[in-house]
Symmetry: C2
Subunit: 155 residues, 2 copies
């Protein structure tokens, strides 16, 4: 089934429900809202904080800009998330030897513990969501998202 939204009869009407940007956003919003319970309800984290934690848990040590690139967040979001995680003593900053503008961020024991606690929940969430789809549907969403991602990347 192709996306035929706009091929509809009335040329000057936009069918919002079938409009790709809207569908995508609505879906992402719903999924994200559901998922946020894992980090919000249990630890009161915001999404930027969760992503920062997740980036550091995954990579060990990163600079703020690296976190921004990996998780597609503006540097102000990263800055605020890092500040909050530091306040919780979930991460520490280490100044760079050569470039004094740069700080290397890493999780503390407590931060790592929280990360390790949430990872299985996150994986379970994704697994359960995907379990509602058939094999071919899972393939479809994976391929579709990858293709769109690639299309956007190329401008």
């Amino acid at each position: 089934m192709a996306i035929k939204s706009e091929a509809s009869d009335e040329p000057e009407i936009l069918n919002l429900e079938n409009f790709l940007p809207y569908r995508l956003y609505r879906l992402a919003d719903a999924v994200s809202r559901e998922f946020s319970r894992i980090y919000k309800d249990s630890h009161g984290l915001t999404r930027p904080e969760w992503r920062t934690l997740s980036g550091l848990g995954q990579h060990g040590t990163m600079t703020a800009s690296a976190i921004g690139e990996q998780s597609a967040m503006h540097k102000t979001k990263v800055s605020r998330a890092v500040a909050e995680l530091e306040r919780r003593r979930w991460l520490t900053r280490t100044p760079d030897e050569n470039d004094r503008r740069v700080e290397h961020l890493a999780l503390t024991k407590a931060g790592l513990a929280a990360y390790r606690e949430m990872v299985p929940l996150a994986k379970a969430f994704e697994r359960e969501l995907l379990a509602k789809l058939s094999v071919s549907e899972r393939e479809a969403i994976a391929n579709g998202l990858a293709a769109l991602q690639a299309a956007l990347g190329k401008g």
Copy 2:
């Protein structure tokens, strides 16, 4: 062995880039941000305002709650969007005969004109985005999104 590679097999590490909620959100965000230029740059509309306009343009007359349902927005967002569109004189409210809590909303000439001006741009945006995909990729994204939507709907 590489230090921290594609370790999606490592059970206690979450690979953010491949995590469905994140991929979905990032994609939706990018697409939505691009698309927002059509209503933001030209008329200074917010997303809720655009959606409200779009709903009314599509359906002619709606109540605020109907708009909320159709476009998946909380009633406060709808309320504020409606207030702003009214301030611009892009829509008018008509009290319901039988239920004095309800107002029927409809676009004015000016509102309709703005809507009609933006619809072709929106359609072009979607068309150009989809044009970057192959036929099978378009099918994949359509099927994948529909499947996910259905899966969420069923709880």
